[in-house]
């Protein structure tokens, strides 16, 4: 299915999807016909790094990796002139369940990522940049390596890019299968060849990141929006979206939806309208996980009120996150969904914080029992209580990302959980810890 170009009489934004439906668009010659690298020349190098940072600030671009932090502001935290090298690291680990936008971007338009990296590198004074790609994404790694070679051959990477005084080298680093490596400090440890365990912040990577040097970590999609903003200006970018969530964003939608896929839409589009654009909900909507599996689930009523921007979803005590939207219909079992989610977090805990390592595993094992009809009366409250304990008490937000689905699913779909408890004739007996098999280290 080609990406729709219009919706309700209006043209859809085309910041990121320009080559989605162009065969061979990953090759330099084809990409160039569609405007690739048009900023690499006077457009970029006539601007001072400071002016470029101001431009990105004005555009209101926010990080697309999950946290939505204003990109221009992040760039302005990177110290300059310290004598230390500044690194740019592209986060292409895309592991948030349900998210599949970066893999599409890198397969279809790797040159746009390189162009965005040149712009960002210029703004931050970067000489060496890395792309950290999820290990399973072999076709994307190939596409990137090929595109990088083409860019070097065309004088767009390496020494004196396009005849300017700016030089940049880019290396692709392949991950090895750990969700936690998507967290920026774990990613840096992994890049350095260590176990991918997050570091306590501060110091923030901007001050002390890769090899203890200032490092800017940005998501693929964030950086790919930069050339467009540089070409068209901040005001043009702001013609889409809301005041606080300007511009366009990619959403990956799957689950009970007519046409699952990746869509570029203006931020702020009402959720029901987005469902319609993606072919409509299949069956009767029961709920939706709006921003990757860590985002608290919304029930049908909340979905009707929600819009696809940072503030609207935060207002509903959920989040836009990575833009992975997962509607599910009334035939689906919320207990089984939560069980799968908690298994994921228990498995992916990196193990260095006790509340996370033990808590996510324990919560998962109790929910396993519930789902198998062996639940006890206090189980759900117990798990909720546990979630309260490991929410925000750990080095990184992974434990919190487990607490949120636990609390939202058991809160909003409680009757479904109670129905499982009712299946156990022994439910009034207190829970004995010994009934649970050890399994924290799955």
């Amino acid at each position: 299915m080609p990406h729709p170009t219009h919706w309700k009489g209006k043209e859809l934004p085309n910041v990121l999807r320009r080559l989605f439906d162009v065969p061979g668009g990953h090759r330099l010659a084809v990409a160039r016909q569609h405007g690739a690298y048009s900023t690499i020349g006077a457009t970029l190098f006539d601007k001072s790094p400071f002016e470029l940072i101001e431009l990105v600030k004005d555009s209101g671009l926010r990080g697309r990796g999950g946290a939505g932090f204003p990109t221009g502001m992040k760039w302005s935290f990177v110290p300059r002139g310290t004598g230390k090298p500044v690194y740019l690291v592209i986060n292409a680990d895309e592991g948030e369940p349900g998210t599949f936008k970066d893999r599409l971007l890198m397969a279809r338009d790797p040159h746009l990522l390189i162009e965005g990296m040149i712009c960002t590198g210029w703004a931050l004074g970067v000489r060496t940049a890395y792309i950290y790609v999820r290990g399973e994404m072999l076709p994307q790694i190939q596409a990137l390596n090929h595109a990088i070679r083409e860019a070097y051959d065309a004088g767009l990477l390496g020494e004196n890019i396009a005849g300017s005084r700016y030089s940049l080298d880019i290396y692709v680093h392949r991950g090895a299968g750990a969700y936690i490596c998507g967290e920026e400090t774990a990613l840096i440890n992994s890049l350095e060849g260590y176990k991918g365990q997050p570091r306590l912040k501060p110091p923030f990577p901007a001050v002390s990141g890769a090899f203890a040097n200032p490092t800017c970590v940005n998501n693929v999609e964030t950086i790919m929006a930069v050339p467009w903003i540089l070409t068209h200006g901040a005001k043009a970018y702001r013609r889409w979206g809301t005041d606080k969530s300007p511009g366009s964003k990619l959403f990956s939608i799957a689950g009970d939806i007519g046409r699952p896929g990746v869509y570029e839409i203006p931020l702020g589009m009402p959720m029901p309208e987005f469902f319609e654009l993606a072919g409509g909900v299949v069956g009767e909507l029961q709920g939706c996980i709006p921003g990757g599996s860590s985002a608290p689930v919304l029930n049908a009523e909340e979905c009707a009120k929600a819009a696809m921007d940072y503030e609207s979803l935060a207002g509903l005590k959920s989040m836009l996150g990575s833009g992975a939207v997962m509607p599910f219909n009334a035939t689906r079992d919320p207990v089984a969904i939560l069980r799968t989610l908690t298994r994921f977090y228990a498995h992916e805990s990196c193990g260095q914080c006790t509340p996370c390592r033990e808590g996510t595993g324990y919560a998962h094992r109790v929910l396993d029992q519930v789902a198998e009809g062996k639940g006890r009366d206090g189980d759900i409250d117990h798990v909720r209580d546990l979630a309260d304990q490991f929410e925000w008490t750990t080095i990184c937000p992974l434990a919190t990302a487990d607490a949120w689905p636990i609390k939202s699913f058991t809160g909003k779909f409680r009757p479904a959980f109670d129905a499982y408890l009712a299946k156990n004739p022994d439910r009034a007996k207190p829970r004995e810890l010994t009934q649970l098999e050890p399994g924290a280290f799955m």
Partner: protein
């Protein structure tokens, strides 16, 4: 038990070590190349590597065991990775796993006796639009019919 590596393997390890030894932070890239060559990174190879790249074996082993991708034992020839992410779960991933498990007579995490297949479950592989999904040696098989998926996939790869 530690067994010595064969001269052939030694040669490869030396080549890989030479390529990466002086690049900072390259341990993971080294392990990728070793696993590509040997199918896994067993204990004796870790000991050997430690000498070649001058990194303590504890550092190598903690990295090998931290990352899901690295294996200390050779898995079956065809690696069947059943996605158990949310979208695939909604569309019957557990039935897919069951179907493959029945067809091969092994449980999740095991290899078949003839070492032809290895069955594992994995987190979301980012092809949710094609759920339910099984990745075989890196290739995606999507929109599977849960009940018959085991027979169909195994038939496609057996003897290949």
């Amino acid at each position: 038990m530690t067994t010595a590596t064969t001269p052939n393997v030694q040669e490869d390890l030396q080549r890989i070590a030479k390529k990466w030894k002086d690049k900072p932070g390259s341990l993971i890239m080294v392990l990728h190349e070793v696993q590509e060559r040997l199918g896994c990174v067993p204990r004796n190879v870790c000991l050997e590597l430690a000498k070649l790249i001058d990194v303590p074996v504890a550092r190598i082993y903690e990295v090998v065991t931290f990352y899901n991708y690295f294996k200390t034992e050779a898995p079956g020839k065809h690696i069947l990775s059943v996605c158990t992410g949310t979208a695939c779960h909604l569309k019957g991933a557990s039935k897919v796993l069951e179907s493959l498990s029945k067809e091969l007579g092994i449980k999740e995490g095991e290899s078949s006796a003839d070492k032809e297949f290895h069955l594992q479950s994995v987190r979301c592989v980012g092809c949710c639009g094609m759920a339910p999904v099984v990745m075989v040696n890196g290739a995606i098989h999507g929109k599977l019919k849960p009940e018959s998926s085991g027979k169909e996939i195994v038939a496609q790869y057996r003897g290949k």
